[in-house]
Symmetry: C2
Subunit: 359 residues, 2 copies
């Protein structure tokens, strides 16, 4: 089928702005390719919580669960918190609710954007961090103990089941990347197995599960060494599965390497569901100014189309995904599009419409 | 007093080589300044474990505890492990045994070394990560649970006591840096308080303790945002206290920004004890070749002298520390010293003797 039901959740802050830019791009691919979208808008976020006492509308979780894919802007606001001081983050609740264990966070240097590293291989950066997104340290969200105001604890949980699924997912991703982009087909787990039993367990299960994919090269790397090597030789890596909190950290580091969060898309996949969102948050400091870089949001929409294409056998969706990616590369690489975050003067709308026009 | 008893623990791999280079530098400062060292060599490490069944000699912990300072090379070897698969890491045992809660890891761009970031402010990088080194996630070392080969857990522990001590230490460090280097006197805790109660607790205690130092600016930053900002604007940061595992990750990231682990010294301080060691490990791949960069080890010796100088009111030790730092800067910045890790041809000994000659 080439007709898709999308749950569209702009959220708040710059989430709303970048979603508008992505909508213009989606309109363009709908016109150009044999595709049709039914877009169902679903509110939610910290302001929604403040007004209604709930992070999503009644029945919201069920509604978005019925869509073919969820397109998510950004939610959360520093001043609006739960009583325990932690932040409203509906994206975490959605990941947990639907078991979206694979947080796919590609890090690719966009041609034409200013290099961050002096090494000229910078332009070859093309890796994917796959952040496990339902357990690890985040299993402790809302469950940490505080004892007598003297001591606090949070517990990380790693399961065989999810580690196997994650490994399997990453091996398939590495294979597909090898076919479509010529990458080496290499999966490197990032852990701290030298010190912690839960990570030694994770690594062991990873190698067992990876053995079922003999065409894929399975490796391991320590989290600290990876933080170093993502600065020294990021061009050497392909697919990097890791624990939830490690993935949170490494994917922001990776975003830093390619010009910031405005260029870092993501997908959260699991159990037949997929949510697609930029890696950035609501950015209260620049919200409402029209200067947010919507590239991460637009590339997230491309990841959504690619995923829908694979899942539903839709060549139109796959082609549309590729067209968006090429549009982004052309806009920055050839047309000298320059967003504010890299020192330019092109606003959110400009960037959306420039990329839409290229499709 | 200007006479110091040093426990010298070269360890294994390149630990032995870089310690030899540091010894040449220590000899030079002993001659030049009014200082005398009694050096007591203490073995230990993974090979020691393999041969004797213990990571340190009998009574070794007591012996090093009696010294004025511990100078440590590197210990650990990938193929020699505990039965649970984790690595031999005596440095962790020493940190825990003596309560060396403050893991001080300065990140400073050495003049003359090749810039890593394209931004010209790269040369202004001068920050210190203070890795809490006795609790946090590492409280779980050797204690993680594995249930039926299906699920594994490790628990992080944050205490009020250690967080207060850490904060106090960091505020004093920021003050001293302001006086001696003109840095802004700013301490920024790095946590994940938006999601985890243990980190929300850590941040709360941090602000309470920092309030006792009204001349120091106290701030907070999320770990993921910090991983991004250490790539985007590391020159903006001063003193960065953080949880143990976060500090492990960020300090390696920081080392990557300044040319690698060969330039990253460290100190582990607590309870009147101090251990000084390069941030790197034993590097089995290059061990025995004479090409390891001893700069991190030599700068660690300088940190030791500075600490001894403060603690024992020894101007000679403080001056010696400063002379070593200036020697390193002069060797790389003016004499074009280039270690192998930054593409040069100066070996471990060369670098040690060049810096020693400058003193
Ligand atoms: C907003 C925050 C809770 C969230 C996370 O930690 O997962 C964000 O950093 C992310 O990476 O999606
Ligand atoms: C060797 C390893 C156990 C150690 C650590 O994780 O503390 C090292 O990475 C360090 O940074 O000192």
């Amino acid at each position: 089928s080439n007709s898709f039901h999308l749950a569209v959740m702009p959220g708040e802050g710059i989430g709303v702005e970048v979603m508008e830019a992505a909508a213009v791009v989606l309109d363009a691919v709908e016109k150009r390719f044999d595709l049709s979208f039914r877009q169902e808008h679903v509110p939610g976020g910290a302001h929604h919580f403040k007004e209604t006492g709930a992070i999503l509308p009644n029945g919201g979780m069920e509604r978005i669960g019925k869509a073919d894919a969820i397109l998510f802007g950004a939610m959360g606001w520093p001043d609006i918190r739960y009583p325990d001081g932690t932040e409203i983050a509906p994206q975490l609740d959605i990941r947990m609710h639907f078991g979206l264990y694979a947080g796919v966070r590609p890090i690719r240097a966009i041609p034409g954007t200013p290099p961050i590293l002096t090494d000229e291989r910078w332009k070859d950066i093309d890796l994917v961090i796959v952040r496990e997104s339902t357990e690890g340290m985040f299993a402790s969200r809302g469950k940490g103990e505080i004892i007598d105001d003297q001591e606090a604890r949070d517990t990380q949980v790693i399961t065989r089941k999810i580690t196997e699924e994650l490994t399997d997912f990453c091996c398939r991703l590495a294979r597909r990347r090898r076919e479509t982009r010529g990458t080496p087909g290499r999966v490197t787990i990032v852990d701290k197995a030298n010190v912690f039993r839960s990570f030694a367990f994770m690594r062991k299960v990873f190698y067992e599960a990876a053995a079922k994919h003999p065409d894929i090269e399975a490796r391991h790397h320590y989290i600290d060494a990876m933080a170093l090597d993502l600065v020294r030789r990021p061009w050497d890596f392909d697919v990097l599965p890791t624990e939830n909190l490690f993935g949170d950290i490494l994917s922001d580091l990776g975003a830093g390497l390619i010009g910031g969060m405005g260029f870092a898309p993501s997908a959260d996949i699991g159990g037949g569901h997929g949510m697609f969102q930029p890696s950035h948050g609501t950015a209260p400091d620049i919200a409402g100014k029209g200067i947010a870089n919507p590239t991460a949001m637009i590339l997230s929409a491309a990841m959504m189309l690619d995923w829908l294409g694979e899942r539903h056998g839709s060549n139109a969706a796959r082609d549309a995904a590729r067209a968006i990616e090429l549009g982004v590369d052309h806009a920055f690489g050839k047309l000298n599009l320059r967003s504010y975050d890299i020192g330019g003067r092109h606003g959110t709308r400009d960037i959306g419409s420039t990329i839409a026009n290229l499709i």
